[in-house]
Subunit: 532 residues, 2 copies
């Protein structure tokens, strides 16, 4: 015990004390919390022994017939906390439960008030293949990747925030575990503490978390929440390369880590759980291990935030019931039409292509896409009724591979064009883009009878005969067409009105057999909307 | 009871009596059976009441420490049978078990002798993504579809057999349930009896099978066995269109039907179980129903023949443990490269594209492929490390849509070209074709360091720089190249020898930077084999 105490002491000194001060007990709790914000109970409790082990602590929150029981966590310096995200307006009362008297039977209440304008609640699956905030507002996912941004300097983090604000991205993937390459970390206040007490793999105390580390990570999550960005928080990642050993922890430590992270972060409405990045590279973890880790998250997260896992060569079985959506790394799946609809039909869940290679110029082939190709892959994903996640690389960076490592500045051509796509998607059917006749038509999405988006990819089309699959059509329906050029980000409405009649058992056609003229360039699209 | 007896009597008269005579008790059993052929016990038993219900009947077969317990079945006319497929040479002894004295405790033995030349045993999964006969002989699947051939005239069936003998196909999909369209059936000895006693949906006795129906079906299965063709026996199919009601039977009937079919057919070594064709069109059956039916087959088939199910719009979850391979209908999956490798990585089982549209000229769009397109889809499947199943249609046929309905004559251009592909696959790596670097290369299969097959599809390639992914390569390795033209079925060996050296972290290249010259036509391939 003595040795552990000394290590904890050393680490507390090592960590930024201005951070540590934030873990003081909160004396006066706010009595009003907006819906989907979080309420925090903070109580002094036992400090003898190891406060991370053997202390049961939770609270039952009740409002009418709604009841939740979030778990608490030890936040250091003798303070235990419970965070709770109310999902319903009105008075919530609580009573704590613990096997320690000091933490047991504490009661209180607060008022949950209406959410502020930009607060739509956590994101849920809706319409089977899509997402929406809990208040019903559609969430059209446009992801980006900034794996190690929380571990960078304050200036770099602020630059990242500013770039995200000006970007089309509304979901960011990053790590809950620090990067293995110290040289990937820029600045003095960066990687100065770790998830566990200790300073290196020679002296981790895997039985004691370092609350200061998590407080810093929480700030990052809340900063993104405040600019409207969902966080795909990656709980495990491989390629530690024997630096810290965080990818080689034992089962007990992994389980305790997941439980602690859920206790700390679940009350943040913008959290998504990504069990791992490239999980199968952690070869000592079996599918059964991942099953168990998923089940811990499922059992301990009172709000059932979205859950998935990101693969390397061996793809986890996303059909399992605790996986809410497919988080896939498979580049061929966004290089060819028809694959996303197939994935939807296989999994019957939303498909998120969370790694499709990155736009950039590093020597590794996964980071060499042209902007043209990145944007093409995005369109192929969305035209298939799926979603995608962006990333950028830059060679010669002092601390990693550019944006995907450290965040910082978006410098490449795809974000503007992804913003253009996002606008089109947002202006599309409220229920999201679904494949149109996916068994026979490779490149059409929308909503039968209402809205059709056709993406021609690399084909240099000069004419498109106005023909649509028969579902939901009737003779006499009229449509207008916009010509979209995705490279230049232009939308040109065509004057002509198209009126359909039945052609055969499968299709309707413009009654004058009109054709849409196109300029014969690659990366064009057509948007066809019914005139009501 | 009286009514049922009368119906049974009528049906026996209606059914071809020359068939019915085959179900006499076999007085003298053979005492030698070759391995993977079947031994049949035939015993007189109770005829009172309903012999299909409540009579338990099985036999324990033993040879050393090998033990199997196949279930028996009532074969009509007072005779009960048990069929057994011995999988090991030597003396097998058996003892019957029954809750009826007449069927209980009967013992006997036979000698299992070595298999004859063309008998390689049942087909199993091997190397995760491929198939082999039980004796280890690779089985490179080349399927075809003849849904209703067992219900055609003897002449038509014989023509089908003759065409299959001359075809590249070694697996045939067909129905265990009769077609709903009586007009799909040609000839007098065709659809003259049904799986159940009765003559129409007004009078089926779903509690009584008609053994004569199954005897006829068994003959078809054994005819295919004798010409080396595996049978993908389809247990259920929709689109009965209220004709017979066989797609709307209740749970108890479905379960009993499956159990009866397994008892009758499992001892035939060429059986594969296809739980259904387009299963989701049977809307009253849930995933839980299919799970249960799979589990019955799994529990009752002592030999664990291959099991899968073929989908309509809703794809059954083939990751479930009782599914041995993926039997998929998804046309886009064979129109684009890269999809079969993804499917392999998702399912980690063999992928069989069991319906990829059919070559032909009927008005329905699923039966209109050109031969060119059918062959293209086959190549796309095999270059992705998967397998495919052929079918042909013909318009204006009196009894259905041509070959896929009735069998008969293969008249189109794809079979010869599929035979050409089969020869290439058979001459390839013994372990089967696997994708080469499937994350970055879309159209290469083979075996690292040994054998590479590149298919260019519709691309009109004039030059191919000799470059191969680095895995298993060393500088100095030498290769020869064959130019394959899949349309004309020609293989042209090139004179040149290519010697590789390392180019970068990903690739080896010919040390003279040589290029392979190609004629710039679509549908070309290259075969690259290492010179040892």
């Amino acid at each position: 015990m003595k040795k552990l105490t000394i290590i904890a002491f050393v680490v507390l000194l090592f960590c930024d004390l201005s951070q540590a001060r934030e873990s003081k007990p909160v004396e006066s709790l706010p009595n009003k919390v907006e819906q989907w914000d979080f309420y925090e109970i903070s109580l002094p409790g036992p400090t003898a022994g190891n406060p991370f082990i053997g202390i049961e602590f939770s609270a039952v929150f009740t409002n009418g017939d709604r009841t939740y029981e979030p778990e608490g966590f030890y936040d250091g310096q003798g303070i235990y906390k419970i965070r709770f995200m109310p999902d319903y307006e009105g008075i919530w009362t609580y009573r704590t439960k613990s096997n320690y008297d000091a933490l047991n039977g504490k009661t209180g209440q607060f008022e949950c008030i209406p959410p502020s304008n930009d607060n739509h609640g956590p994101v849920r699956v809706r319409n089977q293949y899509h997402f929406a905030y809990e208040d019903g507002t559609p969430f059209y996912l446009f992801g980006t990747t900034i794996y190690e941004w929380p571990f960078q300097s304050k200036e770099k983090r602020q630059q990242t925030i500013q770039n995200l604000i000006n970007s089309p991205f509304n979901k960011a993937r990053f790590l809950a575990i620090p990067p293995w390459r110290q040289e990937y970390v820029e600045g003095a206040d960066a990687l100065d503490c770790f998830p566990f007490m200790g300073t290196s793999k020679e002296n981790w105390d895997f039985s004691r978390f370092n609350p200061v580390y998590f407080q810093k990570l929480e700030k990052c999550v809340l900063q993104l929440r405040d600019i409207g960005i969902e966080v795909d928080l990656i709980l495990f990642r491989p390629y530690d390369n024997d630096k810290w050993g965080f990818d080689m922890m034992d089962t007990e430590t992994n389980d305790r880590f997941v439980r602690y992270v859920v206790a700390r972060f679940a009350a943040f409405r913008n959290i998504w759980w990504s069990l791992a990045n490239e999980n199968s590279f952690m070869e000592h973890l079996t599918d059964a291990d991942w099953d168990r880790l998923f089940q811990i998250v499922q059992a301990k997260d009172p709000y059932q935030h979205l859950r998935s896992i990101h693969n390397a060569g061996r793809i986890y079985n996303h059909t399992k019931p605790w996986v809410t959506h497919v988080s896939l790394q498979y580049y061929m799946a966004v290089r060819f039409f028809g694959v996303s609809p197939l994935l939807r039909d296989i999994y019957r869940k939303p498909i998120v292509h969370d790694e499709i290679n990155y736009e950039g110029n590093i020597s590794k082939r996964w980071g060499q896409l042209s902007g043209e190709e990145m944007v093409y892959r995005f369109w192929v994903a969305y035209i298939g009724g799926a979603y995608a996640t962006h990333g950028e690389t830059s060679k010669g960076q002092p601390y990693g591979d550019g944006w995907i490592s450290t965040g910082g500045e978006l410098i490449r051509e795809s974000p503007a064009r992804i913003a253009f796509l996002r606008k089109i998607v947002e202006d599309g059917p409220k229920g999201g883009l679904n494949p149109i006749d996916q068994y026979y038509i490779k490149n059409m999405a929308g909503k039968y009878g209402e809205y059709y988006l056709i993406y021609f990819g690399r084909e240099k089309v000069k004419q498109w005969a106005f023909r649509l699959p028969d579902e939901a059509l009737k003779s006499g329906m009229r449509f207008k067409v916009d010509l979209i050029y995705t490279r230049n980000m232009t939308i040109t409405p065509l004057e002509q009105v198209f009126e359909v009649e039945k052609l055969d058992r499968y299709e309707f056609i413009d009654k004058k057999r009109s054709k849409v003229e196109l300029p014969g360039k690659p990366y064009m699209a057509l948007r066809i909307r019914r005139i009501k």
